[in-house]
């Protein structure tokens, strides 16, 4: 019994090991949101006119919009005027060589396991590192450039490849798509851009690592990935934030566009600070992620492991335009203590013989609420299309909640949509059985949860999968019963 208490203690006190703050000089603009702020952000970044227009257009539309309230979430009022919309480490904006990088910054990312020095990197992963509002470092850029691959910060892309940005920005997520996407379009400060040319298989995993550091700021980054005909890329995203008592807003947009026979795999391990065990603090994560399979036989897959954030509102989606195109959504969402998650996917079938799969594994503990929300829509012309959805919920106790909201619309007779759902509970008996075989409770929960989530974890790139496994275990320690 004492052992149990000890585990519980370790967990509630030491679970979030990324909660430190870096003491670094930061350039933060005044709190508040108005047209001047948007002009200021654009000016600070030295953006061309078309970007300012994009932002102002978004802002105008956003002003007429309301915060969505249809999700199964209790969202406290968010004062968007109390947030600063631009924060950047002062030295910078972008480091050309390691010597210029603030040692504090290097140290920060070392602690997070993301060394900025290329030679120290996991072989085969190129990283764009975004701290608060700006990208601080992109690794392996030259190696990639040899293949014609563009991988850089969003700001750089606006400067160096304005034609591509102009052509693709806002295609998958139009500026007025939803409240948070519109807000992001107006104020986003940086992010990553990636373009894979025709016929190129990207030789390494590309990755963006997001870190919120400054207080009283929001993070609004934007990622745009374009895969031209017959190309392939696997993209990873990771994120952490310091532990703070107040909530912080993260409203990102990710857009993916695939041309004929191109494939993009997008994997996320979302580990924003979830708040403490009493529900104080934590990130509000309101993210719009959408891909368009523009070309025939192209494929987009979203794989996410969500363990962080106080509130998660996120529906990575696929618009299957090209005939025979394929969309996939694989998700493990963990909620503990007072966390709330409303997450799922939309699969919109427009092209003929399009296929989509949704695998959602919700794991709830503490007093948390975990909802799956999904839409499968097959348009009348999308004949011969198929969807399979599997939504499973695992409960660790009687005080948490799991909910499923599947919406299905099928517009023709030759398409088939299947939906399966299960709910199960980790029993004390299962834990005791493991204990009796010499396996401690922590390891037992890890084994059971990882077994349950295996189908999704297997879709992650190798090193990421290992990290995700550990994360699942840490997020849930001491939560059975």
């Amino acid at each position: 019994m004492e052992e149990q208490d000890k585990i519980l203690n370790d967990v509630t006190q030491g679970d979030y090991k990324y909660g430190f703050v870096t003491d670094i000089e930061t350039d933060i603009i005044e709190k508040g949101l108005n047209e001047d702020v948007i002009r200021l952000i654009s000016a600070k970044k030295g953006e061309p006119e078309f970007m300012l227009k994009f932002r102002l257009d978004a802002f105008k539309k956003w002003q007429k919009m309301k915060m969505p309230n249809w999700a199964y979430l209790k969202i406290p009022p968010i004062d968007l005027q109390a947030i600063s919309y631009y924060a950047a480490p002062k030295k910078g904006p972008k480091y050309e060589s390691m010597d210029e990088v603030d040692p504090e910054l290097i140290d920060t990312f070392n602690k997070l396991g993301i060394p900025l020095e290329e030679q120290k990197h996991l072989a085969g992963v190129a990283v764009d590192v975004v701290m608060d509002s700006v990208s601080v470092k992109t690794t392996f850029k030259d190696t990639l450039a040899e293949k014609g691959i563009i991988f850089c910060s969003f700001s750089e892309a606006v400067e160096e490849h304005p034609d591509l940005i102009k052509k693709y920005l806002g295609q998958a997520v139009p500026v007025a798509d939803n409240y948070f996407a519109a807000l992001n379009s107006a104020v986003f400060s940086d992010g990553s851009f990636c373009y894979i040319p025709k016929g190129v298989r990207c030789p390494m995993e590309l990755s963006t690592y997001f870190r919120i550091n400054a207080a009283n700021t929001g993070q609004f980054e934007r990622t745009l990935i374009v895969a031209d005909d017959d190309s392939y890329v696997s993209y990873l995203e990771g994120c952490t934030a310091p532990m703070r008592d107040e909530n912080q807003l993260h409203a990102a947009v990710v857009e993916i566009i695939t041309m004929d026979r191109a494939e993009v795999k997008y994997s996320t391990v979302q580990n924003w600070y979830p708040g403490d065990k009493n529900g104080k603090g934590g990130i509000y994560n309101f993210v719009t992620k959408r891909g368009i399979c523009r070309g025939e036989s192209s494929k987009i897959s979203w794989t996410q492991v969500e363990t962080g954030s106080a509130i998660t509102w996120k529906y990575p989606s696929c618009i299957l335009m090209g005939d025979n195109s394929v969309g996939e959504f694989n998700s493990v969402a963990v909620t503990n203590n007072y966390q709330q998650a409303d997450t799922g996917s939309k699969m919109i079938h427009i092209g003929k013989n399009t296929k989509s799969t949704i695998i959602s594994k919700g794991i709830s503990a503490g007093k948390s609420d975990n909802s799956y929300r999904g839409l499968v829509k097959v348009m009348p012309k999308a004949t011969g299309s198929r969807n399979f959805s599997q939504c499973d919920s695992l409960l660790l106790n009687d005080t948490c909640g799991a909910h499923t909201f599947p919406y299905i619309e099928v517009g023709n007779k030759s398409s088939v949509v299947e939906h399966e759902a299960t709910t199960s509970k980790i029993g004390e008996d299962q834990i005791f059985y493991c204990n009796q075989r010499g396996i401690d409770t922590e390891t037992a929960i890890g084994m059971i949860v990882n077994g349950y989530a295996k189908e999704v974890l297997n879709k992650l790139p190798m090193e990421f999968a290992v990290e995700a496994q550990k994360l699942l275990q840490i997020s849930l320690e001491g939560s059975v019963g």
């Binding site: 029993g427 005791f432 059985y433 493991c434 009796q436 010499g438």
Partner: protein, 250 residues
């Protein structure tokens, strides 16, 4: 090896064990019999360290140390094994992973090197032969879709893998056909040595034909009301429990 003194235990405020005394020495086999609801499984659970039960009085020492202080996993690693009356299913966790983790936790505790996958599989094959365990079972998730008999066999298989000092078998023989019964008995007898001991909870004399007990105890309403040699089991088989019940009413 195991010494239980004046043990009282209750669950949800209800007293189930009411002053148990039991001494088990290395090399001995003790059978515990008694009508349903007497507290046999409760005693087994208390020994294994299940949290639901509150120990209100008494003490237990195992291998010379206080047992009640220790976590269930520590008890297991120090050599206490419980073959559950109702083994649970653990979906999503492959039998092989489960057992490998279990074996290696035991080894770590003893200061031994963890087994590699190859070494583990070799050990597993050896023990599978012993209890006639089929790979179709070890390839599945823990107990998932196992028949009642297969679950019991799986308990004995795990026991063979872990080589405990004290094995507690809670009605492992219930619902087994005669072949499976022999397998269970083989598993227990293979483990038998001057350093190990077993507690066999059973309703049937037939198991005790294979596993010959040194003592037979009758547990009734939370107390051991009678202790004798193996002939007591035969007597029970003949006469049932009624005479015990009437002797102990009032």
């Amino acid at each position: 090896m195991l010494s239980i003194k004046n043990l009282y235990a209750s669950v949800e405020g209800m007293e189930i064990l009411k002053g148990i005394n039991l001494e088990i020495k290395p090399g001995e086999v003790h059978a515990i019999m008694g009508p349903n609801g007497s507290g046999k499984s409760t005693l087994a659970s208390v020994l294994a360290g299940k949290e639901d039960y509150e120990i209100t009085a008494g003490e237990i020492t195992f291998l010379g140390e206080d047992l009640l202080d220790k976590s269930p996993e520590l008890r297991a690693k120090e050599g206490l094994f419980l073959s559950f009356q109702y083994p649970v299913e653990i979906p999503g966790v492959p039998m092989v992973n489960f057992l490998k983790t279990s074996v290696n936790e035991h080894r770590k505790h003893k200061g031994l090197k963890e087994l590699t996958a190859g070494e583990f599989l070799k050990l597993m094959r050896e023990k599978m032969d012993l209890v006639d365990m089929h790979t179709k079972l070890t390839n599945r998730m823990v107990n998932e879709g196992f028949s009642g008999g297969e679950k019991k066999k799986n308990e004995i298989f795990q026991m063979a893998m872990l080589e405990p000092k004290l094995a507690i078998l809670d009605e492992t023989d219930s619902g087994l056909d005669i072949d499976a019964l022999r397998v269970v008995a083989n598993g227990v007898n293979a483990l038998k040595s001057p350093e190990t001991a077993a507690i066999v909870v059973t309703h049937y004399q037939r198991l005790l034909d294979y596993i010959v007990p040194d003592y037979v105890h009758i547990l009734y309403k939370g107390k051991i009301v009678k202790t004798a040699g193996k002939e007591l089991a035969l007597e029970l088989e003949e006469k049932g429990y009624d005479w015990i019940k009437s002797d102990n009413e009032k």
